[in-house]
Symmetry: C2
Subunit: 472 residues, 2 copies
C-alpha cells in the first residue's frame, strides 16, 4: 500500500467504526485484501480496502463515507463471474456482500422468496425445495455463486430454454445508489406498471448502477418429475432440425445441451455407454413437469426421433440420468487435455443460427489451425466456444486473439450477441461497439451518467475505457 | 388555432414535405386533428399538428424537424389506453404510428415476429396462428389496440397468470430518441447480456423515453387445446385458497378470472346457467396446452374441487365455453346499470392479498355508501375496482374521489401497486409518490432527464407536474 493512502484509510476506518462497523468487517491487511481482488477470469487487483457489511444500512454508510472522499466502490459477491465484473482497482473499496446471506422470507402463497444478495444460489434452491417450490436459474457456478452476483450479471444456465434467465425471476430489488440513498423497485405483484422498470434496468447492469441489497425472486412449483434422454445425430443441422421439431410438437424441454464432434471425441472413451462412430452432434434433453406431462412428452420425443436419431437413450432412473450427464460433465476437464490453454467465449445466437455459426467456426478453426470446441445450450442458442491453444507460444497466442475477433464478428453477423450469460465486464468491453451503434451506447452511457455522474461505481466495466484491451 | 402558430406550422409543413412527407400524412384541419386528441379515458386535447409517418426514417425526420423548434412530441397508437398516456397538449405534435402497420417477418424457426408499432394486436395473433404459433398477451382492447401501444404501456390481460405480460414477449426494439437518432436494442437471442437492458426500460415507459418504430416479439407454440371451467365459492377467501391449491397441484391455468358478489348479482339473471344463491365468488378457469396435459390438469381440477366448490361446470365444447364466458363478458354493461357513472381503477396486489383487499374495499364501500364492484384477474392479483356513483351529484362525486385515495392507500398498504396493466399516464401521476420513495422517483426522473433533457417527449405523463390533479 502506498504511504499517502494510509492516513486516508485510517481516518475512513475510524469513521466506519464510529458508524457501527466491527473490526472484523474491515479488511486492511495486504494478504487478506488479496483474497478479494480476483475472479473466475483469473485477473486480479489489489483493492485499498475491503468492507463486509451485514445490512443495507451498513452498505449505505460505507458508500456515504466513501463519497466524501470520492473513492471508487466495487461491489462483489462470490466472484465466480466469467467477465471480470467484480475486479477492483487499487484505488477502490470492495464492498463484499457475502455476509448479507440471509433468506429473509419464503412466501409460499405468493411463491416469492426475499433474500439478501449474499445468499448462495444453490442454497436458496435447496431451501425452497422443502416447500415444494423451485428456483430454476442454474448457472454452472450455482453451488458457490451468490444471488446478488447472478442478478448483477443476469446469470443463465441450461434450464433457460424452458425457464428463462435470472431476469425472468427478479420481481423487485432494494439497492443503494452511489449517493448512499436506497431505492426500492418492483414488488410482489405479477403485474405492475407504475413508473419505469428500474428492476429490469438494474438486472444485468453488472454492479455499475447500484449495489443490490435485497432481492425478491419469483418461485415456481417444483416439477413432479424429470426425464433425461441422450440423442445422437449425424450433423449439427440434423440436431437443429430436431430441436425445431420438438417445439412444433409441443415438447418443451427444460434443457437441451449439445456437444459438437470435438467435444464428443474428447469424452467418447470415458463414457459409460458407447456412441456411434457417425455421431457428429449429441443432444442431452431434459423434460420436466407433472408426471403425466413428462410421460406424454417423452413418448412423443421417442416416437419422433427413434428412427431419425443415430442413438436415443432414455434414462430409466437417477443412476442412468447421472450416466447420461457424464458426457456433459466430463467435457471441461476432457478438452483441457487438448491444449495447455483455452480461450472461452459464451456467445449466443438466435437458436436457428446454431448450425451456421458452428459451420463458420469450423472454417475459422481450419484457417487459424487451432481446434475450436463448441458445446452449450442448444435450446437457447448460447454456445460456449473454446479456442484451444498454447499461450506460451507467442504466435499461437496471436492467432488466438485474432480468433476471438472473428468469433465475435461471425456471431454478430448471424444476429447474435457478445455474451449469452457471462456479461461484458472488462473482458469484452472493447467489443461493445461491434454489437451496438454509437447512438445505442450513448443511451447506455447516459443512464450510467445519470446514476453515477462521477463514474465511481464499478468503473471500467461494460463501457470501453480509453486504451482498454480485451482480456482473454 | 391561434394566429402566431400558423406561420410556424406552415414552415414546418413545408420542410416535412421537402423531406418526403405526402400531404395525406400531415393533418392540420381542426376537425381532423380532433380525432387524434382523445383516448379511452375520455380526456381530449387539440394537438397543433398530426403526422402519420410510414417508416422509422420518417419518424426520425419528424422528430428532427420538431427539435429545431423545440416542439413537444406525443406518440400515439390506437389510443385505447386507460390512463391518458397518449393525450397531447395544444402546443405539441402527434406522431401517430397507425400507418406503420406491417408485420415484417414471422420467423418460424426462432419463433419471433418482427412488426411495426401500428400492427393491431389481434391481427398479429391471427396471422401467427396460421403457422401454429401464439402471441399470448391479450389486453381487452386487442381487436383495436396496437402493439406499439401495448409495448409502451406494458399491456397485460387475463392470460398473464400463465403467460406473463407484454414485457415478457418483447425481445428487441428500434426506437427514435428525442434527438432524432434511432437506437436498436435487444435481438433474437434468448440469452443476451451485453450492456444495459434498454429494451426492458423502454417497455412500459409510456412513450416518454423514445418513439418505438420496430418490435421483435417472442412467440410460443399454439396450445393444442383449451378447457374452460366455471367454479363458484361461498367466499372470496375460499376462492383464493382454491387458486393456491391449483398451483400446488401442478395445475397451471392460462386464465383465472374472478367475479365478486356484486358482479355476480349484476349478471346472475342474464346467464344461460344458474348460479347457487350462496355463490359469493365465481372463478372462470382456463387451462391450455397439449391435449394430454389439458386433460390431466382438468381431471385434477375436477377432483380437487367437485366437493369443495358450490358449483363446477366444465365446458364440453366451444358453445359451452362461450356460455361460461358470458358471465365475464356481460359484466361491464351490467354494472353500468348500477349507477350513471363509474370510477374504474386497475390496482394489482400480491395474489394472496386478494381476499384482504376485497374485504377492505367492502368496508370502504359501506363507509362511503357507494357500491364498489370488483372483478378481474385473480390469478395474477390484478383487480378492476369500480366505484359506482352519480358524478352529477357533487356530494357523491366528492365521495368518489375520496374513495380512489383510499383504494390506492389500501392497495399500497397490502403490498400492491397503483396500476396492474393500464399504466400511470396523466391520470395516476399525482399518486406516484404514494407508491415510490423520493429516491426511487428521483432515479426515474434522472433517466427521463438523460433521455429527454428538455422534457419534450410525451410530457405530463408518469411524473406529477406542479399542480397536476388526478383525473377519474
Amino acid at each position: 500500500m502506498t504511504q499517502p493512502v494510509k492516513p486516508l484509510l485510517n481516518q475512513l476506518t475510524a469513521e466506519l467504526k464510529a458508524a457501527g462497523f466491527a473490526s472484523g468487517q474491515i479488511i486492511m491487511a495486504d494478504e487478506s485484501r488479496a483474497c478479494y481482488g480476483y475472479d473466475a477470469t483469473r485477473q486480479s487487483a489489489d483493492p485499498m480496502l475491503v468492507l463486509l457489511p451485514e445490512s443495507g444500512q451498513q452498505v449505505e454508510t460505507a458508500i456515504k463515507l466513501a463519497a466524501k472522499r470520492k473513492l471508487k466502490i466495487f461491489p462483489r459477491g462470490a466472484a465466480s463471474g466469467m467477465s471480470g465484473g467484480s475486479i477492483p482497482s487499487s484505488d477502490g473499496i470492495i464492498i463484499s456482500l457475502t455476509r448479507m446471506n440471509r433468506i429473509l422470507e419464503i412466501d409460499q402463497e405468493n411463491m416469492i422468496a426475499t433474500v439478501e444478495p449474499g445468499v448462495v444460489t444453490g442454497e436458496l434452491q435447496e431451501e425452497v425445495s422443502r416447500y415444494g417450490l423451485f428456483y430454476p436459474p442454474d448457472p454452472a457456478s450455482l453451488s458457490f455463486s451468490t444471488l446478488g452476483g447472478n442478478v448483477a450479471e443476469n446469470a443463465g444456465g441450461p434450464r433457460a430454454v424452458k425457464y428463462g434467465v435470472t431476469a425472468d425471476y427478479v420481481m423487485g430489488l432494494e439497492a443503494v445508489l452511489i449517493n448512499g440513498e436506497t431505492i426500492k423497485c418492483g414488488n410482489k405483484c405479477v403485474k405492475s406498471v407504475s413508473g419505469y422498470d428500474l428492476t429490469s434496468l438494474l438486472v444485468g447492469s453488472e454492479g455499475t448502477l447500484a449495489v443490490i441489497t435485497k432481492i425478491l425472486l419469483k418461485l415456481v412449483p417444483a416439477p413432479e418429475s424429470v426425464k433425461t434422454s441422450l440423442l445422437a445425430f449425424p450433423s449439427m443441422s440434423a440436431a437443429a432440425l430436431a430441436i425445431t421439431a420438438m417445439f412444433k410438437n409441443q415438447i418443451s424441454p427444460s434443457t437441451i445441451e449439445f456437444l459438437d464432434h470435438h467435444s464428443i471425441n474428447a469424452v467418447r472413451e470415458t463414457l459409460p455407454f458407447s456412441l456411434p462412430a457417425a455421431a457428429d452432434t449429441v443432444l442431452l434433453v431434459e423434460i420436466d413437469g407433472s408426471s403425466t406431462s413428462v410421460m406424454a412428452q417423452s413418448q412423443k420425443l421417442k416416437k419422433l426421433f427413434e428412427n431419425k436419431a443415430l442413438l436415443l437413450i432414455e434414462a430409466r432412473d437417477e443412476g442412468e440420468r447421472a450416466q447420461l450427464w457424464t458426457a456433459r460433465r466430463r467435457l471441461s476437464p476432457a478438452i483441457a487435455n487438448l491444449a495447455p490453454h483455452k480461450i472461452n467465449e459464451d456467445i449466443a445466437v438466435p437458436r436457428a443460427a446454431i448450425p451456421a455459426v458452428i459451420a463458420r467456426l469450423e472454417q475459422l478453426s481450419a484457417r487459424i489451425a487451432l481446434p475450436i470446441v463448441c458445446f452449450g445450450h442448444a435450446g437457447d442458442g448460447n454456445i460456449h466456444v473454446n479456442v484451444m491453444l498454447d499461450k506460451n507460444d507467442p504466435e499461437q497466442a496471436q492467432r488466438g486473439v485474432k480468433a476471438v475477433d472473428e468469433i465475435f464478428a461471425i456471431t454478430l453477423e448471424l444476429g447474435g450477441t457478445l455474451s449469452g450469460e457471462h456479461g461484458i465486464g472488462n473482458t469484452k468491453s472493447a467489443y461493445l461497439d461491434k454489437e451496438w451503434s454509437a447512438a445505442t451506447i450513448a443511451a447506455m452511457r447516459a443512464i450510467k451518467q445519470a446514476f453515477d455522474p462521477e463514474n465511481r461505481l464499478n468503473p471500467g466495466k461494460i463501457f470501453p475505457t480509453p486504451g482498454s484491451q480485451p482480456c482473454h
